[in-house]
């Protein structure tokens, strides 16, 4: 009731145009800022979400780019390894140990004869993407477990088998086949049974357990060849990080470029997000200024009424509260409309990306809502300060 009378007294005499301008400005600013937050959190979701988890992308095998200058000296120095370990994108790092002896595998069965020379590699167990209880070896072990790259099987099944008139093999069949592994070096010969225990997408080498590699290298290594690894594997949270690509480029290192292709997208996303948030924040500031000006003008134009209201016993606090009730709700609507707008955009985006095999939440992230809330708080504080300031100036100049 009292509010209705106050409303009658404190009219919107500062002009609709200014209010409309302020509202439009604030809306655009809010939409820009909130979409920047939403884009960033979408990207974060793509990187870390369970649905998009791409184990391949998170492990990178890194080696020097071979050039005419460094042929034969491709090993990575201790300093280089330490530096790599220190980088923010590196979660953990492991060396690939190469076999320094000759090895061959040979079929045990006459039905399915094959023989090939071969080289092994080993990595610390934490970097292996095959889960099997068979992944262990000691000198008493009945057989040597081997992990084979998936490409290797594909190569066999879809090229080699046709050219050699051999049967195609499923992974299950390959795992059942036992074969003879022969290693030789330092004038010795050693044979043992081997078996494929899994297929890996992560590392494109024939892998054997680290204990076997250490044992065999110490026993059969032909000479005291270099101990330094020439390839390392790193685990990283974000294979698409531009920092990682930049670092590799600077250090003359290479990795599977397919895995870092995200970094290009990431740079674009970063750019868009930055532009959008800077523009948004600038507009937000200006819109807030216009809005404050609007409040100031309204108070100014109702100067006499406000003075009289205080004179008949209203406290300035109450008048301030009333003014807040007048000016703040439009901001809530602006934020709600902004959120609605971005929700629709997000829904359409998610819908579109499903067809591109990218799974994104159809709903806004929590961060976007938090950002909206934060902006609303900022707006309300600025409104409050403006109202209090001009009410007080009114009293002082009385």
């Amino acid at each position: 009731m009292l509010d209705q009378l106050l409303k009658k007294l404190i009219k919107n005499s500062a002009g609709q145009t200014k209010l409309v301008l302020a509202v439009i400005g604030l809306s655009i600013a809010l939409i820009l800022i909130l979409s920047a937050v939403q884009l960033q959190s979408n990207y974060y979701e793509l990187l870390n979400g369970k649905k998009n988890q791409d184990s391949v992308a998170n492990f990178l095998v890194i080696n020097k780019a071979l050039t005419d200058q460094n042929v034969g000296a491709s090993s990575l120095s201790g300093a280089q390894l330490n530096d790599l370990k220190k980088q923010a994108f590196t979660e953990s790092i492991g060396s690939l140990t190469t076999s320094r002896y000759k090895a061959s595998i040979q079929s045990n069965s006459q039905l399915f004869p094959f023989y090939t020379d071969i080289a092994f590699e080993s990595v610390p167990e934490e970097f292996i993407d095959v889960n099997t209880k068979d992944w262990k070896w000691d000198e008493q072990a009945a057989f040597l477990p081997i992990i084979v790259p998936n490409q290797f099987l594909d190569f066999y099944n879809f090229q080699y088998s046709f050219s050699q008139n051999l049967p195609q093999l499923t992974p299950q069949v390959v795992k059942m086949v036992s074969f003879k592994v022969t290693i030789q070096g330092s004038g010795q010969n050693h044979s043992l049974n081997g078996r494929v225990v899994g297929f890996s997408n992560r590392i494109s080498s024939m892998l054997v357990p680290q204990p076997f590699m250490d044992w065999a290298n110490s026993k059969f290594a032909s000479t005291n060849m270099i101990q330094q690894p020439s390839r390392v594997i790193i685990k990283t949270k974000d294979a698409g990080s531009p920092a990682l690509t930049d670092y590799l480029k600077k250090e003359g290192l290479i990795t599977d470029s397919d895995k870092t292709r995200f970094s290009r997208y990431r740079q674009v996303v970063d750019f868009v997000v930055n532009i959008s948030s800077v523009t948004g924040l600038l507009m937000f500031t200006f819109a807030l200024l216009i809005f404050s000006l609007f409040i100031q003008l309204t108070i100014e134009s109702c100067k006499e009424e406000i003075e009289l209201l205080i004179l008949i016993g209203n406290s300035p606090k109450n008048i301030g509260r009333f003014l807040m009730k007048r000016f703040f709700p439009p901001n809530v609507y602006i934020v709600l409309i902004g959120l609605m707008f971005i929700s629709i955009a997000q829904y359409l985006l998610a819908d579109y990306l499903v067809s591109k095999q990218i799974i994104l939440s159809s709903f806004l992230s929590l961060f976007t809502f938090l950002a909206a809330l934060l902006l609303l708080i900022v707006i309300s504080i600025v409104n409050y300060i403006t109202i209090q300031k001009y009410l007080r100036i009114k009293q002082r100049t009385k």
Partner: protein
């Protein structure tokens, strides 16, 4: 609630007060609660200035004013609003009504600050008693000054108070209306056990004064 004026000297009247005597300016004066005080003030002696100082519309003076223990000069905006809502009511000489609101709305905007104290019926009763019931729905700027004066009086009586300050409240009323209005004011003061301070140019017998002072 006693009202104590302690050596008040408004800046604007400094020279004048130094050269002439006054019962109030530069004196220590106590108005006991529920007394009716008449202050006779010839033109130019600072009648409206005193009204404004008592209601803290202005504070350009030396000396102090105390409502019991509350020193007016030191009270903050909240305490002042509380004082004006519950302890101190006023009819200004220039009335200070909202010209764009109706007579009724002008009274309501005051009544609704302390709605539990007086009802809407009381508004109609008083308007009836003062003969302004028919103009309640008129905008104030379309009312005559006499009508406005009566509306301002009704507005001042909507709230609880210990002191009622009246600055030439009957200047535009005829004898009949003065009688009605002073009766209404007297009974309102009685009901609240409140005192009043009335300013006028001449001697009068509107109320049963306990003290008559010349400014």
């Amino acid at each position: 609630m006693n009202l104590i004026l302690d050596r008040l000297i408004p800046y604007s009247l400094k020279d004048r007060i130094a050269s002439s005597s006054s019962a109030i300016w530069n004196q220590i004066v106590t108005f006991d609660e529920s007394n009716k005080i008449k202050i006779e003030a010839p033109s130019g002696t600072g009648k409206t200035t005193l009204t404004h100082i008592l209601y803290k519309v202005r504070a350009d003076y030396t000396g102090s004013i105390k409502y019991d223990d509350l020193e007016l000069g030191k009270c903050n905006e909240d305490a002042l609003a509380e004082l004006r809502q519950h302890h101190l009511s006023i009819v200004f000489q220039d009335l200070r009504l909202f010209p764009e609101l109706t007579a009724f709305e002008n009274i309501e905007i005051k009544r609704l600050l302390t709605p539990q104290f007086s009802t809407q019926e009381l508004v109609f009763e008083m308007a009836e008693a003062l003969g302004v019931a028919s103009i309640l729905d008129q905008k104030i700027r379309f009312c005559s000054f006499g009508e406005q004066q009566r509306i301002a009086i009704i507005r001042a009586l909507m709230q609880p108070f210990n002191w009622l300050i009246l600055d030439e409240p009957f200047s535009h009323l005829d004898q009949e209306n003065i009688k009605l209005a002073s009766k209404l004011i007297a009974s309102a003061c009685e009901k609240r056990n409140a005192g009043l301070v009335i300013m006028g140019l001449n001697k009068d017998h509107y109320f049963d004064y306990s003290k008559e002072l010349v400014l």
